[in-house]
């Protein structure tokens, strides 16, 4: 037999002499891993169900928008309207994925394994937030791209029409970015405070819902100015107010307070990010 002479060699332990890439590479690795985690990739089939239902629904809405447009010849749902329509239900996506990214690590006490590697605590926090923002943006950007392809074929003005369509798409993609940035900053911060996924999910939805009645009361009580400004308490209305100013969609009366809405949004995001970084800096492992 040919194998009779074969000897199995235990080559023993081999020292590693290859390159050791530093902190930046470690952060990128964690980012890619987290992005995969967000969609349940590399994990059980059960973990994939929910993200893919959400992705499926987002694409379905986009497909309907394309179908309506080719049938009627008019733009029934614009890129911006699509973001408004799908962005709010995406709150549920956030409520499931943010705890998956952050609370799960707290619950399983994985952080000592990360913090004992060439990764700083702030890196971890920012990478997790970045992965959440990217995941949410991708869920919106994919269908927007589908709508763009459908739109280019539906319009009849040739190259100039296609260019016009493209600039509209860029508007939609940036608006999706605003949604992803503001929603994720809040959601990841809230999730980082709870180690139980269910608690984190409920808290995220709660934070978004609790502002709605507050705004409602202020709308009834206040004068014009209070009405125009109080909406920014609700993150969803803050985003929509911002879109009124940036994209001139005229869906909401914010008068001349556009810059105030922008300032509020910047303040909200920087506040959440600072608290998130502080949270991980203070965490004892």
């Amino acid at each position: 037999m040919a194998l009779a002479d074969g000897v199995i060699h235990d080559i023993g332990y081999q020292r590693y002499t290859g390159p050791r890439l530093g902190r930046r590479y470690a952060a990128v690795s964690l980012y890619l891993h987290s992005l995969r985690t967000a969609f349940g990739l590399g994990r059980t089939a059960k973990a994939k169900i929910f993200p893919f239902i959400v992705v499926g629904l987002a694409f379905t809405v986009a497909a309907i928008a394309v179908a309506l447009r080719t049938q009627s010849g008019n733009v029934i749902i614009s890129y911006l309207q699509y973001c408004d329509a799908v962005g709010i239900p995406l709150l549920l996506f956030l409520a499931v994925v943010a705890p998956e990214l952050v609370s799960r690590d707290l619950r399983a006490h994985i952080l000592p394994l990360y913090f004992s590697r060439p990764l700083r605590r702030a890196d971890y926090a920012l990478v997790k937030l970045g992965a959440m923002i990217s995941a949410m943006w991708l869920v919106l950007a994919g269908p927007l791209l589908l709508m763009f392809l459908g739109g280019v074929f539906a319009q009849k003005r040739g190259a100039s029409g296609a260019w016009h369509e493209f600039t509209d798409l860029l508007g939609g993609l940036s608006y999706a970015g605003i949604y992803a940035l503001i929603f994720s900053s809040i959601a990841v911060l809230v999730a980082s405070l709870a180690s139980r996924r269910a608690v984190a999910a409920a808290s995220i939805v709660g934070v978004f819902l609790v502002t709605t009645p507050v705004v409602g009361v202020l709308q009834v009580l206040g004068g014009d100015m209070l009405r125009q400004l109080s909406r920014m308490i609700d993150p969803v209305l803050l985003i929509q107010g911002l879109s009124n100013w940036i994209y001139r969609t005229h869906t909401m009366d914010i008068a001349g307070y556009g810059p105030v809405y922008l300032a509020a949004a910047v303040l909200l995001v920087t506040g959440c990010v600072s608290l998130l970084v502080l949270r991980y800096r203070r965490l004892t492992v």
Partner: protein, 315 residues
């Protein structure tokens, strides 16, 4: 170059002092870090990794200062935490690969070395199973594999035998011994059981209440011999007398007779004595030293408010 050097290292919390002016120099090899629960072992490990900042004093690991070069140290050190720290829904091979990349290994190298590390800890066949389905012993091995995967110069193992049955403990200790001798990696093993680690260690650092009790080569500590514990259901006094006549310095400890283990012949002598008296032998086993026993003879430093816990009975 000294592996680890500390100079009057102190860590104070609002209510306790975890480390109290600890000064010690550790040479490469396998080092046992011995102390009761709450003696400051984990605090010291976390300071070495730069995870905690000392209140005062100086510390150097592999020649670097954890306060300033924490990332350099962490790239060259492997850490196995005391408590469970693995995500249950990940496959072991994937988890260890991911952590290897977080340690700075390129993608292919990370995958290869993850397989190798899991093979070295004895989990090659099971590496594509989810960690959540593993036994405690297997989880401990995964924890060791992730600490080993990036080929560190120093391994810091916090109570690696925690939760393992006697066979699992022996296997884990044998593995650590192999890593220290064959792999050429220095290892610091934390334990509250001296008897457990002295078998595999070159040197021992014992701390209590955050203070250094003793730091020495194991060879210099052999004065403390192993002991045999004998328990018979009846006739303890007769057996004690008999063993005394045979020249064995026997002492009583409750229902137990304790005899120093001179050589393997001691077993035979005791068995012979029990058989000759026709006594029902309940147990005859080697007694593991506990830190408190080893240092009971030595003058203890006064236990100040620094003491978090007096749990010397652990073991």
């Amino acid at each position: 170059m000294a592996l680890i050097q500390t100079q009057a290292l102190t860590k104070r919390y609002p209510r306790v002092t975890a480390l109290d002016a600890l000064t010690v120099d550790v040479e490469p090899g396998i080092i046992g870090l011995i102390g009761a629960n709450g003696a400051g072992k984990s605090t010291l490990i976390k300071i070495l990794l730069g995870l905690l900042e000392p209140t005062s004093g100086a510390v150097r690991v592999l020649g670097f200062d954890p306060g300033r070069d924490a990332e350099t140290i962490r790239a060259r050190v492997g850490y196995m935490p005391e408590h469970e720290c693995l995500p249950p829904d990940l496959v072991a091979a994937e988890l260890v690969t991911h952590l290897a990349r977080t340690s700075g290994l390129p993608r292919t190298a990370a995958r290869e070395r993850a397989s190798e590390a899991l093979r070295h800890v004895g989990l090659y066949e099971e590496r594509y199973r989810q960690v959540g389905g593993y036994s405690t012993g297997m989880k401990q091995r995964v924890k060791l594999a992730q600490a080993l995967v990036h080929d560190p110069d120093l391994l810091l193992l916090d109570e690696p035998t925690n939760g393992l049955d006697p066979a699992g403990r022996d296997a884990m200790l044998a593995l650590i011994h192999r890593i220290g001798t064959e792999f050429g990696i220095s290892v610091v093993v934390c334990s509250h059981l001296l008897g457990e680690v002295e078998r595999i260690c070159d040197s021992v650092v014992a701390i209590d209440g955050g203070r250094l009790l003793r730091a020495d080569r194991v060879s210099a500590m052999t004065v403390e011999r192993d002991l045999l514990a004998v328990e018979v259901d009846e006739g303890t006094d007769e057996l004690a007398a008999r063993l005394g006549q045979m020249g064995l310095p026997v002492t009583r400890d409750g229902r137990l007779l304790v005899v120093p283990l001179e050589s393997d012949d001691t077993y035979d002598l005791i068995m012979g004595a029990v058989a000759a008296l026709d006594l029902p032998l309940h147990r005859l086993d080697q007694r593991r030293h506990r830190v408190a026993e080893l240092f009971a003879a030595a003058p203890r430093p006064a236990a100040g408010p620094a003491r978090q816990e007096v749990g010397h009975g652990a073991g």
